[in-house]
Amino acid sequence: MKPLNYAILKHFTKVKEASTEDVIEALKGKYGNFKALNRKDVLAALMTAEANGLLEETRFGMDEAGTLKIYYRAHKEGADTINKYIKD
């Protein structure tokens, strides 16, 4: 089992793009009991990864509930860096 932050980043090397909610949904099976698997903490992890060039934003919009959803993806360089430091 990987640390939660690693699993969040690694998820982006396996999907085209994902939002905070997508990440939580994908990881809740394995990490459902982790306190840090919540919208606020996962979004902070994604924005930090974006600030450090590991991820980039692809699009955003308001869902029906009026919640802002931001989608991110790992570009080639970001994915390579994630895979270099975080092994499967």
Binding site: P3, T48, A51, N52, R59, M62, L68, Y85
Partner: protein, 369 residues
């Protein structure tokens, strides 16, 4: 409507802009707060080292410790006790937040090992280089530590391709000059033998701290920052206790036995330990918020905001040791206050083009007319 079914309207754009701006502002706030915590931790550490058994070691010295032991070994021991207390706080923090398992899972990974390296370089290696430099060259090395934000910014540019433009370089230069001004108040007129070598050794400390801030800041883009700081304080505390203090014991001629004896006395000195527990608490936030701030707004800005510790350190020593505890010799000369204002200006220049403040004001005026 985008492909996910979400609506991209004016309120979505406004919410997105607000989120991005608040993330950046939070990064700056966190980095500034780290400098304040650094000042508080320095003040309580200094206070702790005047209480209990430390008062005897640095005062009457009934244990007849040599000058070498008092200068080098006790300095390293103070850091070791502080970092060990801080590691205790960090472990408690990750336990309460349910991250203790991730702490153990992170240690033996590549980013975890990089964090350990940063902790060793920034912890015992830089701290020792700084103390040795101080002893060899005198107080002239104190302003050298002011160079670490500049070194961190350059390393961030070279290692991680972080932004470093001319305006940011100007801001960093202003901050370094301001720190230098604060540090210069501690410089005496002495010119010791081996001064040049001492300055070179002190430069290793600045290089190490610059490396730590830049690498550990980037590391926290992968590692949860609270887990990162737990690794840092645990490694720093243990390496100081197990490696550095015994090495100084051996060099002093007292052997490992002397260092063990002093370690036990330090940890069982109740009046001092109260303040080490407090300094360890602030050290936890000084370093964790430093790492977090650097990862949120880049090494250049993060380290400049944190670098204000060169003001917060003397400031909180003045408040806690001077004003509250009534110990003489901690007042701040006017140059320090001036340098603090200059440093705030430098941080502003790194963070943004100050002319934008006027442009925004003009925009608002146009909007209202």
């Amino acid at each position: 409507m985008n492909e996910g079914g979400e609506v991209v309207n004016a309120s979505a754009i406004a919410a997105k802009k607000k989120l991005s701006a608040s993330f950046f502002k939070k990064g700056v706030f966190v980095a500034i707060l780290s400098g304040i915590c650094y000042g508080l931790y320095s003040a309580f550490l200094t206070l702790g080292m005047t209480k209990g058994v430390w008062a005897d070691w640095y005062g009457v010295n009934t244990a007849a410790l040599s000058v070498f032991v008092i200068t080098y070994l006790l300095g390293a021991l103070g850091s070791a006790v502080n970092d060990t207390c801080s590691a205790g706080w960090a472990l408690l923090n990750v336990s309460v937040k349910g991250k203790l398992g991730d702490f153990f899972r992170t240690i033996n990974t590549t980013p975890g090992r990089v964090m350990i390296l940063a902790a060793l370089i920034g912890g015992p290696i830089s701290s020792t280089a700084y103390v040795v430099g101080l002893q060899m060259a005198g107080s002239i090395v104190i302003p050298i530590s002011a160079l670490c934000p500049a070194i961190g910014a350059i390393l961030g540019r070279v290692l991680f391709k972080q932004e470093l433009n001319k305006r940011m370089i100007l801001g960093i230069a202003i901050c370094v000059i301001a720190s230098f001004m604060i540090g210069s108040t501690s410089v005496g007129g002495e010119a010791k033998e081996g001064m040049f070598l001492g300055i070179c050794i002190a430069f290793i400390a600045a290089l190490g701290w610059g490396f730590e801030g830049c690498v550990a800041g980037y590391g926290t883009s992968m590692i949860d920052y609270e887990i990162g700081i737990t690794i840092r304080q645990t490694i720093s505390g243990l390496s100081n206790l197990i490696i550095l203090v015994p090495i100084f014991g051996i060099i002093s001629g007292g052997g490992v036995g002397l260092s063990q004896d002093l370690i036990v006395q330090a940890f069982t000195s109740g009046p001092a330990m109260i303040f080490f527990v407090i300094s360890g608490f602030f050290a936890l936030y000084a370093y964790s918020l430093w790492y977090k701030g650097n990862s949120m707004c880049g090494a250049a800005l993060g380290m400049a905001c944190n670098g204000a510790f060169s003001f917060w350190g003397p400031f909180f020593c003045f408040i806690i040791l001077g004003v509250i505890c009534g110990i003489d010799g901690w007042s701040l000369p006017p140059i320090v206050w001036f340098a603090a204002v200059l440093m705030a200006l430098g941080i502003l220049v790194i963070a943004m083009n100050p002319l934008d403040l006027f442009r925004k004001r003009e925009d608002k005026l146009y909007e209202t007319t």
